[in-house]
Amino acid sequence: MDGLETIDKERELVSRVSSGDKEAFGELYDIYAPKIFRFIRLKVGSQVLAEDLSSESFLRIWEYFANEQREIEESFQALLYKIARNLITDHYRRKSSQEILIDDDFNIFLENQLATGESFKEDAEGVHRALINIKEEYQNVIIWYYIDELPVPEIAKMMDKSEGAIRVLIHRALKSLKDTLSEENE
């Protein structure tokens, strides 16, 4: 989401959602569902779980906006990512590490969903494996900055940090990812 027009459109949709407009919620779903699914899919091992948590994120945000009638300070996107992060954390708190390993079907997902070349699968699988092994904070900035291509100020708001701190964090996250990849390749 960038550009004032898009931000205004989002504000208008959020305002309609706050008064219980389902169609406006549908429009926000169309904009954010692919992103939120990808964010969750990169962090959880199972396709089914990623789908469930994506759905749950949208149900929760609907309840938050439509039922509570709160004053919204964060953007819809920031709130949606926050809900998704909390759901992922809750899920992992409930599960043992053994179950998490059994769940992992990312490579099958790549084979089924992306009919692409071998080099792509290798790269994607390698980066994903390294990504899930670095700090959660680093995972988030890498996904938001490089994959979702969110601007630094937006990430700063979402993480409640200064823009300078986010730039440093991105740099460290990238270094950490590179080190992890090198370790795995050795």
Binding site: T116, G126, Y146
Partner: protein, 292 residues
């Protein structure tokens, strides 16, 4: 670092399947609509149990101030009744004013005289049920009322059959006239019911099997109704042809009245509304069954 960034960016290609996105969208909108309705219903119940509404205490009724208030309520209610009745006509099952609509239908039936007008009414009500059904299929928040509406439609179809059979015994000409009227509607019913099957899997996946059975039952009754009306129309065609054959001059060619001519005949029945989503042009005259 650049090559690592390029590798990371490859993950942008991870997207959910289009079918999952669409089915989840329908599911979410259905689910939030259901929760919203549930909340509204709870609020309504809370409102009705509010102490003000437990005033049917005789001692209070005789207080002058209370009597004036009650009289005002009665007057205002009488004035607003017309508005309520009019508003109820566009309601759907599950709406607050829907019971008003069905109560009006029952009153119309009670005050109708003769089998002919009862038959007309039953066709009108069947068309209204199918219209409601068609609209409910597009409103995911009202999915729980779909099954009941289909069953009510099936009942109306049975009533139409019974009324036409009764009318046939009383007055064949009127029965044929009614049969022609029904013939204009049955293809629409079939079309709406058949097309709805495609939507069932994502509107109400859990109840799909039961709903498919209900829709098949409805289609069977539509088919029976068609048989009755077609037979009646055919009998009339044969009788007209025979009469014409008896009266014709030797050598004159008689053109029998075809089914097309029967269907294209103008029938004044403006009160029947076609469902907006139906398209009679694409209808086939075979009995349709939906696989569960």
């Amino acid at each position: 670092m650049d090559s690592l960034v390029r590798k990371i960016k490859k993950l942008q290609r991870i997207t959910p399947s289009a079918s999952w996105l669409e089915s989840q969208r329908s599911f979410l909108l259905y689910e939030i609509g259901r929760v919203k309705n549930q909340k509204q219903e709870e609020e309504r119940k809370t409102f009705l149990t509010f102490p003000v509404f437990s005033f049917f205490n005789l001692k209070r009724l005789f207080r002058p101030a209370f009597a004036v208030a009650l009289a005002s309520v009665i007057i205002i209610s009488s004035i607003s009744t017309v508005g309520v009745i009019s508003a109820s006509q566009n309601t759907l099952p599950g709406d607050f004013l829907y019971p008003v609509k069905t109560a009006i239908e029952k009153t119309q039936l009670t005050f109708s005289s003769g089998t002919e007008s009862r038959t007309k009414l039953s066709v009108k009500f069947a068309s209204q049920r199918i219209d409601e059904f068609s609209q409910l299929m597009d409103k995911t928040d009202k999915g729980q009322n779909i099954g009941t509406t289909v069953k009510k439609f099936t009942q109306e179809m049975v009533t139409v059959q019974q009324n036409i059979n009764t009318l046939k015994e009383q007055n064949v000409e009127k029965a044929v006239e009614m049969a022609k009227l029904v013939q204009t509607q049955t293809p629409v019913y079939e079309d709406v019911l058949t097309k709805s099957a495609e939507k069932l899997s994502y509107i109400l996946p859990d109840e799909r099997e039961q709903l498919t059975a209900d829709i098949n039952q409805a289609l069977q009754e539509v088919s029976k109704t068609k048989e009755i009306t077609d037979k009646l129309a055919e009998e009339q065609t044969t009788s007209v042809t025979n009469d014409a054959n008896q009266n014709q001059n030797p050598g004159e060619i008689i053109t029998p009245i075809t089914q097309d001519k029967i269907e294209s005949s103008s029938i004044p029945f403006e009160s029947i509304q076609e469902p907006a989503s139906s398209n009679p042009d694409t209808i086939q005259n075979t009995q349709t069954q939906i696989e569960p």
